[in-house]
């Protein structure tokens, strides 16, 4: 049993129709937190699509209108940037698989509407990585994280190159070759993702992940990769994808089967659990049940609830408690610690094992 602390942004996303009746104080809290959660444009679009924007009181409505201006501009910027990327990679041939925001935009999926885009993310086969990087650098993208230690980390462990910054346009491009670091305990096969990818209508050379894979990638990205400052925004993307694809026949069965196939049962479990509780996503009971194979052992499950329900709040003081900073820090991917492979351990515990001392632990 989990109890999600309601925050105005989740409540608003769940049911935008009630919003025009909210008081000024409620609107104020909503605008402040939605802005921090990068969801104010999404809110504006939801209201606009339902023809409710003009019913919102004038003062908060101005902020929503401002947010619409921003998201419209950003969508246009993403289209332009993807065009540049295509041009840069044209000579290599092969298709480019778009991920995340750019994918939602080009595939005309609901999470694209009202989205605040930051970087462009693409997925390429690991074998093509060197060639892709060279072509991009030729066209003006430069690597970041110049510290040799950081470079080593990215290229040795990570599933993506260090972010590429374009020198004149100052846009950021993330080139992925997998969806999780090589050291992660989950091992989804990127070749399968690429194989199942689908073309984008009207855009030869561009592809997006198959619907199930798109959901699984979003879930993996949110629950295993990301610093959770935009956790609620990513959760809203997931909610939007699930609502959109959920109406398609066989989707839920395919989703859980594919999760097992790709070793992504854990992220799927979290995705269905938290979207349902926080955003009231209509996940069918059989799907939730089937996803239980991804459920972590009890204490970890309860611990993750306590962590995620804090970290998936908007990053705003009004939505935080004493333990929120610790929760965010613990979930940030830096928390994945490796043993250094060549380390030889010869250890002899001169004190009693921690487990047997737990009665003394304060």
């Amino acid at each position: 049993m989990i109890v999600a602390r309601p925050n105005p942004v989740s409540i608003a996303l769940r049911d935008p129709r009630a919003l025009p009746r909210w008081t000024f104080a409620e609107w104020e809290a909503l605008i402040r937190q939605a802005r921090r959660a990068n969801l104010i444009s999404r809110l504006a679009v939801l209201l606009d699509e339902r023809g409710l924007l003009q019913d919102v009181p004038a003062a908060p409505r101005a902020h929503l209108r401002a947010a619409l201006v921003v998201s419209q501009a950003q969508a246009e910027a993403v289209r332009r940037e993807v065009a540049y990327v295509r041009k840069a990679l044209a000579r290599i041939g092969g298709d480019i698989v778009l991920l995340k925001g750019a994918a939602y935009l080009f595939a005309a999926l609901p999470p694209a509407r009202g989205r605040v885009f930051t970087d462009i993310d693409i997925l390429v086969p690991a074998s093509a990585l060197a060639e892709v990087e060279a072509a991009l650098m030729l066209h003006g993208w430069a690597t970041t994280h110049h510290d040799p230690y950081d470079q080593r980390y990215y290229r040795r462990w990570m599933h993506e190159l260090p972010p590429l910054l374009h020198v004149t346009r100052e846009t950021v491009l993330d080139v992925h070759h997998a969806i999780l670091p090589t050291t992660a305990r989950l091992k989804p096969d990127s070749a399968k993702l690429l194989q199942a990818s689908q073309p984008v209508a009207g855009e030869p050379g561009l592809r997006v992940l198959a619907p199930c894979d798109m959901v699984l990638h979003s879930a993996t990205h949110l629950f295993f990769n990301e610093e959770l400052a935009s956790g609620l925004r990513d959760l809203a993307d997931l909610d939007s994808l699930l609502r959109h694809f959920g109406g398609q026949a066989e989707f839920w069965q395919q989703l859980t089967a594919r999760a097992r196939e790709l070793d992504l049962a854990r992220p799927l479990y979290y995705a269905l659990r938290y979207t349902r509780h926080i955003l009231a996503t209509p996940v069918p009971d059989p799907a939730l049940k089937a996803a239980e194979i991804g459920r972590p052992p009890n204490v970890l499950n309860r611990l993750m609830d306590a962590l995620f329900l804090r970290a998936l709040q908007p990053d705003h003081p009004a939505a935080a408690d004493r333990l929120t900073p610790l929760a965010r820090r613990s979930l940030y991917v830096r928390g994945h610690w490796l043993r250094m492979p060549p380390l030889l351990l010869a250890y002899h515990l001169t004190v009693k094992a921690f487990r047997s001392e737990k009665g003394d632990a304060s």
Binding site: Y149, A184, P296, L307, R329, H336, W337, M340, V351, E357
Partner: protein
Amino acid sequence: MVLNARSGSTHLLEPLAAEVLRALAEADAGMSIPDIVACLRDDAAAEEALEWLSAVESVLTEFQRLGLAEPEQP
């Protein structure tokens, strides 16, 4: 006691640190801080487990300094 064969230095670890290191050693891939806490305190209530997070975090920071473990991301 731990001997770091790479650096040649020897460290005396406190019980918590020893258990954290053992958890890392037994896993064959990266473990997140919540993973480690759950491993160490498999019968704890969630709120109590939350309190252990900072302790484990401090241990790992110290390990990084000593060269006994490193984080997956820079």
